[in-house]
């Protein structure tokens, strides 16, 4: 594997929730955080993994003939899997597949450029790199973003901010917009929910704001964890006092239950994959509560936006 390649685990065209206009979103695999509510759990581990979409399996048994390590559920231990790919090759139903496809920046940009006519038609449409955390691949990202800008394509980076500042330095010249997550202001709680404290994340966004980058802050509203009045209020203060409101807007993303169904469905490993969803059953916020939080930020003069429920 050449270092400039990155593992792409999904490409979504006509992505309408990842920035302005019609976009193509490229999802890269691997993330330094382990948020309990992660919506793309397959994307946490940067390593290649074997997946099994059971719904597609037609029970032909072809995989059992090429791999001796499969159990009766057609799964295997992670350490036994050499990622040889033979089971994927023989699976005509497409049930077995690799989680990621390694792409060079050129390959990724070729896919992106195919829809340029739509980006142009929709004002500021373009590409969004997301993840996982796309910025753990600085070489790939710098080159891919540069090529997109060269092709006249609007670029957006969707990031958790949990990467070294030097990475931001490298991509800043080629990034038109950042979608930047702020989850929790309390460093201890941040560590408890995501596995890391938030010092670097907050440092980075301050530097980005100082450099006049275009930033949309996104707050995933997780019941009881990030959607507390205390947390939202603290984020509001941070944006107003530390970032001096030098952002385009803050978006509140109400909780949805979609993520739960992804857990445990697609791994081919008995001892790996994304594991069980560790959150108890949570109820999405009421529209009233979201608008309460919205008003809370608005009162602090923070530019805020929340999609109508």
């Amino acid at each position: 594997m050449k270092s400039i390649q990155a593992p792409v685990f999904d490409v979504k065209k006509y992505a309408v929730h990842d920035g302005p206009g019609i976009r193509t979103t490229i999802f890269l695999k691997g993330c330094p955080l382990h948020c309990k509510w992660c919506q793309n759990p397959e994307a946490i581990n940067p390593a290649q993994e074997l997946m099994l979409t059971r719904m597609k399996c037609i029970g032909c048994g072809a995989c059992t003939r090429v791999c001796g390590n499969l159990d009766k559920n057609l799964m295997l231990k992670k350490k036994d899997c050499t990622l040889c790919g033979r089971c994927v090759d023989v699976c005509t139903a497409g049930a077995r597949h690799f989680a990621a496809q390694y792409m060079t920046p050129e390959e990724a940009v070729k896919i992106v450029a195919g829809d340029k006519i739509f980006y142009d038609a929709s004002r500021e449409g373009g590409v969004t790199f997301s993840g996982g955390e796309c910025l753990i691949y600085p070489d790939f990202m710098e080159e891919a973003l540069r090529l997109c800008r060269q092709a006249g394509i609007h670029t957006t980076v969707d990031t958790s901010g949990a990467v070294p500042w030097s990475t931001f330095e490298r991509i800043l010249p080629y990034t038109c917009l950042f979608l930047y997550d702020i989850k929790q202001m309390d460093p201890l709680l941040h560590k408890a929910y995501t596995g890391q404290d938030n010092t670097r994340i907050l440092d980075n966004i301050k530097k980005l704001a100082d450099r006049n980058a275009n930033i949309i802050i996104r707050i995933p509203l997780i019941p009881g964890m990030t959607d507390t009045v205390r947390n939202i209020s603290a984020i509001g203060d941070f944006i107003r006092d530390i970032l001096k409101n030098k952002i385009i807007r803050v978006e509140l993303l109400p909780y949805n239950k979609l993520a739960e169904s992804k857990y445990g469905n697609h791994t081919a490993y008995t001892d790996g994959g994304v594991g069980e969803y560790s959150l108890p059953e949570l109820m999405p916020q009421s529209a009233e509560y979201v608008s309460e939080l919205h008003d809370l930020l608005a009162k602090k003069n923070v530019p805020v936006f929340s999609e109508i429920l």
């Binding site: 006509y14 309408v16 032909c60 005509t92 195919g114 739509f118 038609a121």
Partner: protein
């Protein structure tokens, strides 16, 4: 929605209007004397008698008079005529199994009833019915032939009957007025009676009267036997009346809106009485209205306040009729786009979009049309493009691509044997297709593709010869609402209308392109199978070859994913199809028109087909209209748009319809709708002609199937119109549910 409209809507769902229906009056106009009269005169007599005797009514709070209450005209066709008629000419045997002809309405002789022609409301409203009668009388004096005299007489009789029915309505409403205690309603009833009085004397003078006359003509055409009756460019036709009344302060905008909604409500009365034998689906009424578009003379966009108002009414009412078609072009105002996208987001399948910038040039690529007429096109039926008031549209023939490929692989025979052998016509030694040879003979892909083309040509030639022999029943009232019939003294059956259009359809295009790609790759390039082996696998419906089928479904490129290798095959098929279809002329001398739509055939036509090389099982539904095969569209709507953009529709004057489906979340916010608009604009820039949009939430549909009682007004768009989800047959419901899981 005002209280009045809400009440009228509740009354409609409760079926209040159905109480007045009398199926047949059990009358006859035939006696020794009348038996020998010309057919059109007898039909006019029957129509007149029906109007004289039919029950009339006005529901509480209603503002518009009228409503069909009788479903069979008094007997006017003699036994002799029935005996010598062309029985089920367009129906059993030949059409369903062979050429996809539609089985629509006929009179007792088997003569086709008229449909899909848009009355010239733009001409008739400024004149009024008395002026039509006067003109017919004048023309009768100088008419040269007996046939013309007969025609004018039948026009006079039917229009006189219509005016007499107005008088009956006036009298009834005046009685209601006298008995009404509520002062407001009394005033309304007075005006309704005055409206009827004015329309007996002359042309409508107000917006209210214009809507009233339009509805009156509309339902009387249904009484005469017409169906699938579109209304034309309604925002243009009604605007002068609206503008005058608003400017003079005669009515408020709110009341104008209420009149419009009351008028639209009435159009829903016949949604449960559609035609067709085994394809009867509620709301298949063809009551399309077309809004927006350009001026016939200047070519400028002419969207107006009524365009917006009509979109608003459709947002408001949640009923199926009328179906709204929005004509868009480069100059369509942003406000119209936004309102239309909002209407789409409500999920009812309105509006359908028609692209002026592609459709008008396609008309102009046909030798018959003038630019002025082409610019005045409107949607009829589902999405047929015709010239309002000037087109007599017949859309009966169809080509199913997969069937042609099946015949090419099987020397002209179906894999599954002769369908309905007992009633079959058109068989040549057990073949519906033509003999093109055995798989062993096709040693190159080009030879196979040629055989496929021969089968396609055969279908088109045979079908057109049958279509050209179709007999048409005269319709004096309906035809008097068309341009040219009056001037020429000719009914529909004598081709009095300016343009007689015969349209072909092309179904299962995406499946066929996928299938041809698979065969080219597996048989001719990779040589994994011989064509004989592969054909046998298909004949046996993939038995023992599920792995191959899965590989085809999962690993092969499919139409709709922006993959030029497949898209170009689709284009090649379409170009050949257009070339062959437009070689034919109908008895009026006009070139046949090609269209890419499937209508119902994806459900019914698929039942007689064996497995196809694109991984489809025998009898499985194929794709509808221009859409990629269900499940094949893995890359979202931009890829579909680009694939369809690869096809050259510039000579496809009948239109080409792309179905798109979205999840409600994609259109919920204004931002989301702006992106949707950008997507549509891009498609139209690439030469796309027409799109219809479904915004579906799988969970809602599944629940609606389980608990229909909670979803009586859940409206979805099926092949070419919007209908109530809970009322359609289960297999259509399942198909829509399956599609909705793939919504973007």
């Amino acid at each position: 929605m005002t209280n009045r409209i809400n009440t009228l809507r509740e009354l409609f769902f409760a079926g209040a209007h159905k109480k007045y229906r009398q199926e047949s009056l059990n009358l006859s106009i035939l006696d020794d004397e009348t038996k020998g009269l010309p057919f059109p005169i007898r039909k006019a007599m029957a129509f007149s008698l029906a109007l004289e005797k039919m029950p009339i009514f006005l529901l509480d709070g209603d503002l518009i008079c009228g409503g069909k209450t009788v479903y069979q005209l008094p007997t006017y066709i003699t036994d002799e005529e029935i005996k010598w008629g062309n029985h089920n000419f367009e129906t059993r045997g030949y059409n369903h199994n062979f050429d996809n002809c539609f089985n629509l309405g006929q009179d007792e002789r088997g003569f086709a009833l008229n449909d899909s022609s848009i009355p010239a409301y733009y001409k008739v409203l400024p004149l009024g019915l008395p002026a039509l009668i006067a003109e017919a009388e004048k023309r009768m004096e100088t008419a040269e032939t007996d046939a013309q005299k007969t025609y004018y007489e039948s026009v006079i009789m039917t229009n006189t009957a219509a005016i007499k029915l107005m008088a009956r309505y006036e009298e009834m409403v005046r009685t209601m007025e006298a008995n009404e205690s509520d002062e407001t309603r009394k005033g309304e009833l007075h005006q309704i009676a005055e409206n009827m009085a004015q329309l007996q004397k002359g042309a409508p003078k107000t917006f209210w009267q214009a809507c009233q006359l339009m509805y009156f003509i509309q339902f009387l055409i249904w009484v005469e036997g017409g169906y699938l009756i579109p209304l034309g460019r309604t925002d243009q036709i009604l605007y002068p009346y609206y503008q005058k009344d608003i400017e003079s302060g005669k009515i408020t905008k709110d009341f104008a809106f209420e009149i419009l909604e009351a008028f639209f409500m009435k159009l829903n009365y016949e949604v449960d009485r559609t035609h067709g034998e085994d394809i009867k689906i509620n709301s298949d009424t063809g009551q399309s209205i077309t809004i927006g578009g350009v001026d016939p003379i200047t070519g400028d966009d002419v969207s107006n306040e009524l365009t917006m108002m009509i979109l608003d009414a459709k947002c408001d009412m949640r009923v199926t009729d009328p179906k709204v078609h929005l004509r868009v072009n480069q100059n369509t105002p942003e406000s119209i786009w936004k309102k239309a996208a909002y209407l789409n987001s409500l999920g009812m399948g309105f509006p359908t979009y028609e692209n002026d910038d592609a459709i008008i040039p396609a008309f102009m690529n046909h030798p018959e049309y003038t630019l002025e007429d082409a610019r005045d096109y409107a949607a009829s039926g589902c999405w047929e493009m015709t010239i309002q008031g000037r087109s007599f549209n017949r859309n009966l023939g169809g080509v199913c691509c997969l069937r042609c490929l099946e015949w090419a692989l099987n020397d002209g025979q179906y894999f599954l044997g002769v369908p309905n052998a007992d009633t079959a016509q058109g068989l040549i030694d057990d073949r519906y297709g033509i003999r093109t040879g055995y798989p062993e003979w096709f040693d190159t892909y080009e030879k196979l593709f040629n055989a496929f083309k021969v089968q396609m040509k055969h279908t088109i030639d045979m079908t057109s010869s049958y279509l050209n022999r179709a007999m048409i029943s005269p319709s004096p009232f309906y035809s008097s609402m068309m341009e040219d019939c009056m001037e020429l003294g000719r009914d529909f059956d004598a081709y009095g209308v300016r343009y007689t259009e015969t349209d072909f359809q092309l179904a299962s295009l995406s499946n066929c392109a996928d299938a041809l790609y698979v065969i080219r790759k597996l048989v001719y390039e990779d040589k994994e199978y011989t064509l004989r082996e592969f054909t046998d696998i298909l004949k046996n419906d993939w038995a023992g070859h599920e792995n191959l089928r899965q590989r085809i479904l999962n690993d092969f490129p499919r139409f709709g994913n922006d993959i030029p290798e497949v898209d170009s095959i689709a284009n090649e098929i379409v170009q050949y199809y257009i070339q062959e279809v437009t070689k034919h002329r109908n008895p009026d001398g006009q070139t046949y028109r090609a269209r890419v739509t499937s209508a119902t055939s994806y459900v019914y036509g698929s039942q007689i087909l064996g497995a196809s090389a694109d991984g489809r099982h025998a009898r499985e539904f194929y794709s509808d209209n221009l859409s990629p095969m269900m499940g094949a569209d893995k890359n979202g709507p931009t890829a579909i748009v680009k694939s369809c953009g690869e096809i050259d529709f510039s000579h496809c004057a009948g239109g080409a319809v792309l179905d798109m489906k979205f999840h409600p979340s994609a259109l919920k916010s204004e931002e989301g709708r702006d992106k949707f608009i950008a997507l549509l604009k891009t498609y139209f820039k690439l030469g796309g002609m027409q799109t219809q949009i479904n915004v579906l939430d799988n969970k809602v549909l599944v629940d609606a199937k389980k608990h229909p009682e909670n979803y009586r007004d859940l409206i979805v768009r099926i092949w070419g119109f919007s209908t109530y989800f809970v009322e359609i047959p289960e297999k259509f419901q399942d198909h829509i549910i399956a599609r909705s899981t793939l919504a973007f």
